[in-house]
């Protein structure tokens, strides 16, 4: 299975099984044009890099509401971030098992992005989805060779 197919499969499984939110694959997303939340985990070891899950704040809130089984309005920003972090953690943990071993998974972090945030220029495997009309992207950034250059 190709890396893109692996990301597509594990992401769809997480969103459908744990959130009850089916995804459709998309050719492009509108994430570069507005506020975006990104949940990210680092993978280090025989393979070095990170997995990022990016979506609109509204989709992050919708996903959090599904995880907490409550109304979107009842969620705090911290709860929305916690949910997106856990989504990234699940995706990263599943991807970690498919990468060269041994490796370790970090604790997830969640950050706000804006249109000025530069995207990684190389080593990226990007898969884009839509949940209804809301865009979502998952990207695996391979930094193995980059880190080899700076590590004596």
């Amino acid at each position: 299975m190709s890396r893109v197919a692996e990301i597509r499969s594990l992401t769809s499984s997480i969103w459908e099984t744990m959130l009850g939110l089916p995804l459709e694959e998309a050719r492009e997303t509108a994430l570069d044009s507005g506020p975006t939340l990104m949940g990210s985990v680092r993978i280090t070891g025989a393979w070095n890099g990170k997995l990022d899950v990016r979506c609109t704040p509204s989709l992050a809130r919708r996903a959090a509401a599904a995880m907490f089984a409550c109304d979107e309005d009842g969620l705090s920003d911290d709860e929305v971030r916690d949910a997106l972090g856990e989504i990234a953690n699940m995706a990263g943990g599943n991807m970690k098992a498919l990468l060269p071993q041994p490796n370790a998974l970090s604790i997830p972090v969640v950050v706000d992005l804006d249109a000025a945030t530069p995207a990684p220029s190389s080593g990226v495997c990007l898969v884009q989805f839509a949940c209804d009309a809301d865009p979502l992207s998952v990207q695996l950034v391979d930094q193995t060779n980059q880190e080899a250059k700076v590590t004596p």
Binding site: I14, F68, G85, E86, N89, G93, N94, K96, L105, I107
Partner: protein, 122 residues
Amino acid sequence: MNRILIIDDSKAMRMIVARTVRQAGFGDCTIIEATNGAEGLAAVRAQAPDLVLCDWNMPEMSGYDLLEALNADGKVPPFGFITSEGTPEIKIKALKAGAAFLIVKPFTVNALQDAVRGLQAA
């Protein structure tokens, strides 16, 4: 089974695990929560849960380190991991340390039900 301790640093995941526990037929149990291994260790020592459902990768103290600490105490309650990390190496490490099962996220009600019923039957 009276008390189930759920240990995960994600509040959202603790909610999901608790909900799945109820859906799996253990709705009469009291749910106790802890946010990392250190809190979980204190909860096990203070409240003697009948089952521990624990994440692997957490700040402060990991799930594996918690299980090792319980082994050092000489008293390990029925213990299962629910984690996004499901490599064969981690599963072997978990089982060797005394875990009864390891469920990989995302998981279903049936997966949890089968694991806990298997533990009760053993």
